[in-house]
């Protein structure tokens, strides 16, 4: 449909352009009535699809060729084929109709399908009308039939009626279109919208309130230019625009498929992209380094890392490293296809991958072209040992000799083991078992008048990639710069001037503003010297970019899709910008640049569908996970649900744009999901800390932080109303709960005893402890059963340590090994009375567990311990597959508490005293039970020592019921004075209720359309 619209809209320009080009080449175009078949448009494609393979450049069966006018008109062995004006008498027609000599048909059986009636009619019609075949067209026909292959000539800047509107030449092109269509441009956007638009656009983060204020007050003409320059200089620019590039190059951190192995150090390529954009590496260098950074004269570690471009695609290691040769070969061709398709789509906007099995149906690309491109990459090799991939020393090939390669910087990229790659054959139907003619490395024939020279191999590589790269960036190639300026335009405006950014072929869209596209392409090459930052600046300082997002009422019903940009097209932000904005607004963004990937929180339910639920994801480290989303570990077989739900791109192939779907699961993710609710709490706390307790100033501050503006009167009234109603409601509801729980009518269970059923370990510091002469503990025997803990290091027994009762002190290198295993199944309960004063030092500390990396349960062990993250925040871990979202809350760092971990068949829960810190909602993954148990450190690891007291430690080899848990807590709590379990939790204070209401407001703000859309 789009194409129809474009045809209608651009109908006037395009044929004129075509005629001009043809005329320029000294070619006459037959002036047929519109219904008559046009040779170039209608007839030749049929010949090409069905006849050229046998009657073309490659071979001329029967001494007949259909790709050259003189030869076609002359005919072949069986005589003349085309009788102009007389279709019935033409051998060609008889043959395609299946009535040739001896009922011969063309194409013959087995060489492709016969022509369709429609196609035969067309050829008949064309012959009957005289078989008009423009002279001299044959060599260029393919190029001339496709707009994107025509040479770029810098178009005239059009004149416009309202010259005052124009701020730079972009505006002349845009306004000329608007004026000719009687469309009215919307007014300029207001300052606070403009700065928000530009900041989200260049950084993927919202502007701070002070940045908004400063710009709003700056009335200078060049104020907005200063904003753009400031943003372009900000290193977050590389993170935002680097992500666009990563979409295009199908970046991920693992290979996908069965093994889905980690691509070691793939992130160094990601960092190279971010760094190159921040440094404004000119686009020619940017391209050449990725394609052939190891082959350029100025090759360096950096440029070698850039060639990671080729290797970040999927790889089926099971097949690629198979002992079966056919599997290896098929996988090799899949890899080569990945390289050819990605290269041609990303840089040339051509879908040459189509030609793997047969000539491209629509574009002037043949299977021969495809395999010539395959030959370019044929020499590349993957460093791997079986199914595991290896990194390599990131040095140019010429600098490797004589160096200790292990000591060099490492990276992830292919290499050419030999300057002479294996021979490449055209594969019939893409089948490696059916090799055809041999092909050499070359550029698709239709794209060039003459093949560019390919370098000879040097001592190290075939130099085919550098040769291709040089042609890709050559001035004669019109595609590359058309494609990149269109992409940049697309990321600024949501859609490109050509809406199919990866397909500039016949099936792609025509440009809405063809002259603007060409003007930009030339400007980018000549004036900007391929500087992307200059291109951003030009686009963003245009009046077109500054147009308000509201459409002008006079345009009602016209240009509904806003193809002609009478107003700024709003669009939903990409998931990265949504997530990063929330972190920035909540105050928790960790803005560290570059480095190894981080692992956002994934709920256990989502992990469970994976092949390896327990070992697949790293424990949640909040500080690290609060880095920008581009640093997320991208695992091809397990996409992070938050990203996937919000239309993250497919990583299997080059993604030219993000889809924008609007579905209920997105609402669920953003309204109920863990991340948004957590950030809402932080956001509310930040607002209270910075704006004080007045609801009015809180709302003002929250709006300015999140949306860059004050609330409207309507919003203020609604929100103040909500805050007071919600606060009152929360207080009332919680008071009701308190009264209910305090009511004497509620039967209070008398505290039962600690259940000894299934109790396999009961260490009590007041019993069973033996000391050596230095008063250090040597062993600690269980009150039940026969397990004994033997001491290592110098743990001490303190007499009145917790609640005036004895406890064992662990000072950071003390630990015990247990004489046997207290747990034999997947259901167990761990309970300890401890202090954990080591809040100031970050890291893990472990009370009890059976971790043993040597026996392979580094991710399948049981343990219970605490963790201190940045700012002294403490949380708990119950095994490494359950990192809690809630943190410990203690009045003093050294306050004693009861720590309980419960594993059951359909849930796992962790409690501090009586407070449920978190629950998994499903069983923990299966744990390994055949390793030794330790107390006070992480199993066999010489690390994660407990630093504090342990007064009592109990392990049940089963899941305790809630009543049993309650009894145990009550007994231990009373004994050590840590909890008073009989008192119901006190009702919410008004201040606490106010905070909770504000959290809801913050959650609502994060869900506003305005928050997740461009301004």
């Amino acid at each position: 449909m789009q194409r129809v619209v474009n045809k209608l809209l651009c109908g006037r320009e395009m044929p004129l352009l075509l005629v001009a080009v043809l005329a320029g080449g000294g070619i006459a175009v037959a002036a047929d009535p519109p219904v008559a078949p046009n040779f170039l448009r209608d007839v030749r494609p049929i010949f090409k699809a069905h006849c050229f393979r046998c009657h073309g450049a490659g071979s001329s069966e029967g001494e007949f060729r259909l790709d050259r006018k003189p030869l076609a008109m002359k005919g072949g062995e069986t005589g003349r084929a085309i009788e102009p004006g007389k279709a019935d008498l033409s051998l060609l027609v008889r043959l395609i109709e299946g009535h040739g000599p001896g009922d011969a048909r063309m194409p013959p059986e087995g060489e492709g399908r016969g022509l369709r009636q429609k196609e035969i009619r067309l050829i008949r019609d064309w012959i009957n009308r005289g078989a008009a075949w423009p002279d001299g067209i044959d060599d260029q026909a393919d190029r001339l039939s496709l707009w994107s292959l025509r040479p770029i000539r810098r178009p005239q800047i059009p004149s416009v009626t309202d010259a005052s509107w124009v701020q730079n030449p972009i505006d002349s092109f845009v306004l000329a279109q608007l004026e000719s269509r009687q469309l009215v441009a919307s007014p300029r956007a207001r300052h606070r919208h403009l700065i928000r638009r530009a900041t989200l656009d260049l950084l993927g983060l919202p502007p701070t309130p002070s940045e908004v204020d400063r710009f709003a007050e700056d009335q200078a003409a060049e104020a907005f230019e200063r904003v753009i320059d400031r943003l372009l200089a900000n290193p977050h620019y590389g993170e935002r625009w680097g992500r666009h590039w990563l979409d295009l190059v199908r970046y991920a951190d693992t290979n996908g498929y069965e093994v889905d192995g980690v691509k070691p150090l793939a992130w160094k390529y990601r960092d190279w992209v971010i760094g190159a954009l921040n440094a404004d590496r000119t686009y020619d260098r940017f391209v050449i380094e990725q394609l052939a950074g190891d082959e350029i004269a100025a090759a360096s570690t950096e440029t070698v890392l850039a060639t990671g471009f080729h290797r970040v695609g999927p790889w089926d290691a099971e097949r690629g490293a198979s002992v079966q040769k056919s599997e290896v070969i098929e996988e090799l061709y899949n890899e080569l296809d990945d390289m050819v398709s990605t290269t041609s789509q990303v840089f040339l906007g051509l879908t040459i991958g189509c030609a793997r099995c047969h000539d491209h149906k629509f574009d002037p690309l043949t299977a021969r072209d495809y395999y010539s491109m395959v030959a370019v990459f044929r020499g590349l090799k993957r460093e791997h040992k079986g199914r595991a991939e290896l990194a390599r020393a990131a040095l140019p090939p010429g600098q490797l000799a004589g160096k200790d390669l292990k000591a060099q910087p490492q990276g992830y990229f292919f290499f050419e083991p030999s300057p002479t790659p294996p021979v490449t054959h055209l594969l019939n139907r893409g089948n490696p078992d059916q090799p055809g003619i041999e092909v050499t490395a070359a550029v698709p024939a239709a794209l060039v008048e003459r093949q560019p020279a390919f370098d000879a191999a040097d001592k190290f590589t075939s130099r085919r990639r550098i040769s291709l790269a040089r042609w890709i960036m050559s001035d004669d190639n019109p595609l590359t710069r058309r494609v990149i300026v269109n992409r940049v335009w697309q990321y600024h405006f949501g859609t490109g001037l050509v809406r199919t950014a990866n397909d500039f072929g016949v099936r792609g869209n025509l440009p809405t503003h063809p002259e603007l596209l060409d003007w930009l392409a030339e400007w980018f090459r000549v004036e900007a010297g391929y500087s992307l930052k200059k291109l951003h600046r030009l686009i963003m300082t245009s009046r077109t970019y500054a147009t308000s997002k509201r459409s002008h009422p006079e345009n009602a019903g016209k240009d509904i899709e806003n193809l002609f940009l009478s107003h700024f097209p709003v669009r939903r932000l990409e998931v990265e910008a949504i997530r990063d904005s929330m972190l920035a607004v909540s105050g928790r963004l960790n803005d560290r640049l570059y480095g190894a990937p981080m692992y956002p929180f994934i709920p256990a339910d989502a992990l469970r569908s994976g092949y390896n639920p327990s070992g697949v994801w790293q424990p949640f480290n909040e500080t690290d996970a609060n880095r920008r989303t581009i640093y997320s570990f991208l695992k091809r077989t397990l996409m992070i649900p938050f990203l996937e739900t919000l239309d993250f791109c497919d990583t299997a192939r080059s993604a030219e744009r993000r889809e924008v779907t609007t579905v209920a699961p997105q609402a669920l993710e953003l309204f109920n999901g863990e991340f948004v609710n957590r950030q809402s709490r932080y956001f509310a706390d930040r607002v209270i800390a910075e704006a004080g307790n007045s609801p009015d100033s809180q709302l003002e501050h929250a709006f300015r932080l999140a949306l860059g503006r004050s609330p409207t009167a309507f919003e203020r009234t609604s929100l103040l109303g909500f805050l007071s109603t919600e606060t009152r409601q929360l207080v009332v509801d919680d008071l009701k709960r308190f009264q209910r729980e305090s009511s004497p009518n509620v039967p209070r269970q008398a505290a039962g005893k600690i259940s000894e059923s299934g109790l396999t370990l009961w260490l009590d510091a007041s019993k069973g402890v033996t000391l050596d002469q230095q008063k250090h503990v040597t062993s600690w025997a269980s009150r039940v059963g026969s397990l004994v803990a033997s001491a290592h290091g110098t743990p001490e027994s303190l007499l009145a340590a917790i609640g005036k009762r004895p406890a064992i002190r662990f000072d950071g290198h003390d630990w015990f090994s247990l004489s046997g295993s207290p747990v034999t199944g997947q259901a167990y309960t761990l309970m300890a009375v401890v202090t954990d004063p080591a809040a100031g030092t970050t890291g893990h500390r472990n009370v009890i567990g059976n971790w043993d990396g040597g026996k392979g349960n580094s991710t399948t062990s049981i343990f219970l311990g605490t963790t201190t993250a940045a700012k002294g925040v403490r949380s708990v871990r119950l095994t490494d597959s359950f990192a809690l979202r809630e943190t410990l809350s203690l009045s003093k760092p050294a306050s004693p508490f009861l720590l309980t971990g419960v594993s059951g068949s359909n849930n796992a829960r962790v409690f501090q005293n009586r407070r449920l810190l978190d629950q998994l909602g499903s069983a923990l993954p299966t744990r390994k039970l055949d390793t030794g148990w330790t107390i006070g450190r992480q199993g066999t690891l010489d690390a994660e020592y407990w630093k504090g007291l342990v007064a009592e430690l109990l392990v049940w080899n089963r899941t305790l019921s809630d009543d049993e848990l309650s009894n145990a807590w009550q007994q231990l709590g009373a004994k050590y004075c840590v909890v008073d379990p009989l008192k119901p939790r006190l009702p919410l204070t008004v201040a606490a209720a106010r905070r909770q209401a504000l959290v809801q407001v913050c959650r609502v703000i994060f869900n506003l359309n305005e928050f997740v859309y461009t301004d």
């Binding site: 097949r319 599997e327 390896n612 996409m639 924008v660 579905v663 699961p665 609402a667």
Partner: protein, 483 residues
């Protein structure tokens, strides 16, 4: 031709792509339609048509609306299930000499070994079924067993991809995605394509198996759990009461509405507002759908919920019936997962014995239930894995079998399917499909056909090609399958 929006919210062009591509999808390209028609549709669609039905039309009428795919993850052995090979007795202990590369990755090759599971005829058709599936055997006259399937790889992950998406290469939409794209949703409050994995873990290659590939993400499979909250984030966040949730949602709607009016309306923003209400309704509907406890004790017993071994798959089958009743288009159930799948390299009798026991009764219960509820004719059932297994044992003296993609069995049943028959055959050892060889994509073409879709014309434009589920090679509907 109907161009109705699909999915939860009709906010974009009918097939989730540009309208131009949409027209390509229906075969003829835009040239096939009068221009006037195009222009009205354009205005119509662009004008925001929230009231349209969300169901797209098939290419031709069909009674079959819904699909259940029992995916025996890891590869079930054909000679132990539905492909009886008495000749294996006489070859017992002999080497296989078929000139084909056996097995998956250079593992040791053992000798030909007959099945330890006796076969017997069932029903009027006398279809032979092994003792692994006595309950399913009761429905022999409904089964259309294809004994001559073949695939392109003996490796799990690409094999699973191929069985789901037609291609061994990552990045292509799966069968469920194609159905959602071609036929739309029957119930907007539930996902159209539901996947339930085994409690021991998912298939190798993970989410690639239910990916929508190059189609928009809304067409991908949604993972459902048969206990607790079925879908991620369906429950209110911990500590937020029902009243607070509703009041916050109302506040959000109020602010968004106000903002929308200021902006003079925008169909995409309006759709986003609507999506929150849909999500709210989904909380109710999906939670209610998984409420298996509301089923009678006799039904629960029929599905095997009383036996620990059949309980898990039984719950999933019962949940499947409840989802089908509520209009879910495609349900895929994985049997076996993580480290315990049907991949019986070491011990077929133990492995297949356990896994078949887990699913036999629940599958038969679902079949009986669908008939009882009058849903049989509108439901297509598919049974099979990514490939089969060798008739040889693996290694020496081990009762396991290796991967085998040269020949394996699958069965279809339900609406539009001619039951009580076997199609094609493997050689006398059961190793290679020799008679009526049928490629995975032939099966896909047939499945689409049964649902009223022509696999040639169900296309999606991507990378310059009209992509099809059945790929570029010529594939055909299997006419014998059709009733």
């Amino acid at each position: 031709m109907s161009l109705a929006p699909t999915g939860f919210v009709p906010n974009e062009a009918p097939c989730g792509n540009t309208r131009r591509e949409c027209l390509w999808q229906w075969g003829g390209g835009f040239a096939a339609l009068p221009l006037v028609d195009l222009m009205t549709r354009e205005a119509d669609a662009a004008g925001g048509s929230a009231a349209r039905s969300s169901q797209q039309s098939p290419h031709f009428p069909s009674t079959v609306k819904q699909v259940v795919f029992f995916f025996l993850n890891g590869g079930p052995s054909q000679v132990d299930t539905f492909d009886h090979k008495p000749a294996l007795e006489k070859y017992r202990g002999k080497s296989f000499d078929g000139g084909l590369q056996i097995g998956s990755n250079g593992r040791a090759i053992g000798k030909l070994a007959p099945s330890v599971f006796p076969f017997r005829p069932y029903g009027d058709s006398g279809l032979l079924v092994s003792s692994l599936f006595p309950h399913v055997g009761q429905f022999a006259d409904d089964l259309c067993v294809i004994n001559s399937m073949y695939a392109e790889t003996p490796t799990h992950s690409p094999g699973i991809l191929q069985m789901n998406s037609g291609s061994i290469v990552l990045g292509r939409p799966s069968l469920g995605s194609w159905l959602g794209y071609g036929l739309g949703n029957l119930n907007e409050n539930l996902p159209s394509y539901v996947v339930m994995t085994d409690h021991r873990g998912g298939p190798r290659g993970g989410a690639g198996a239910w990916s929508s590939g190059f189609m928009p993400a809304r067409y991908q499979g949604t993972l459902f759990r048969s206990q607790g909250a079925p879908v991620l984030n369906l429950k209110r966040p911990e500590g937020i009461g029902a009243g607070t949730q509703r009041r916050s949602l109302d506040l959000l709607n109020q602010l968004n509405q106000q903002n929308l009016e200021l902006r003079g309306g925008n169909s995409e923003l309006a759709a986003r507002i609507a999506s929150y209400e849909l999500a709210y309704r989904m909380q109710t509907e999906a939670t209610e759908a998984v409420d298996i406890d509301s089923e009678s004790a006799s039904i629960q017993k029929m599905y095997g919920l009383e036996d620990k071994r059949t309980e898990y798959f039984g719950r999933q089958c019962l949940l499947t019936r409840r989802l089908l009743e509520r209009g879910v288009r495609f349900v895929q159930l994985y049997s076996g997962g993580g480290a315990d799948s049907w991949d019986a390299h070491d011990d077929v009798p133990d492995n297949h014995g356990r896994h078949a026991f887990e699913i036999d009764q629940p599958i038969a219960a679902l079949m009986a239930d669908l008939k009882r509820q009058g849903m049989w004719d509108q439901t297509l059932l598919i049974w099979g894995g990514e490939f089969g297994r060798t008739p040889t044992s693996e290694g020496v003296g081990k009762p396991g079998r290796d991967h085998n993609h040269f020949g394996f069995s699958m069965w279809l049943a339900g609406g539009g399917v001619k039951g009580g028959q076997r199609i094609g055959a493997t050689d006398e050892t059961g190793f290679q499909a020799v008679e009526r060889r049928l490629h995975v994509s032939d099966l896909h073409a047939t499945i689409l056909h049964l649902l009223g879709l022509d696999h040639h014309h169900l296309t999606f434009l991507h990378e310059g090609l009209d992509q099809r589920l059945t790929g570029v090679q010529p594939r055909k509907v299997i006419p014998e399958v059709l009733a």
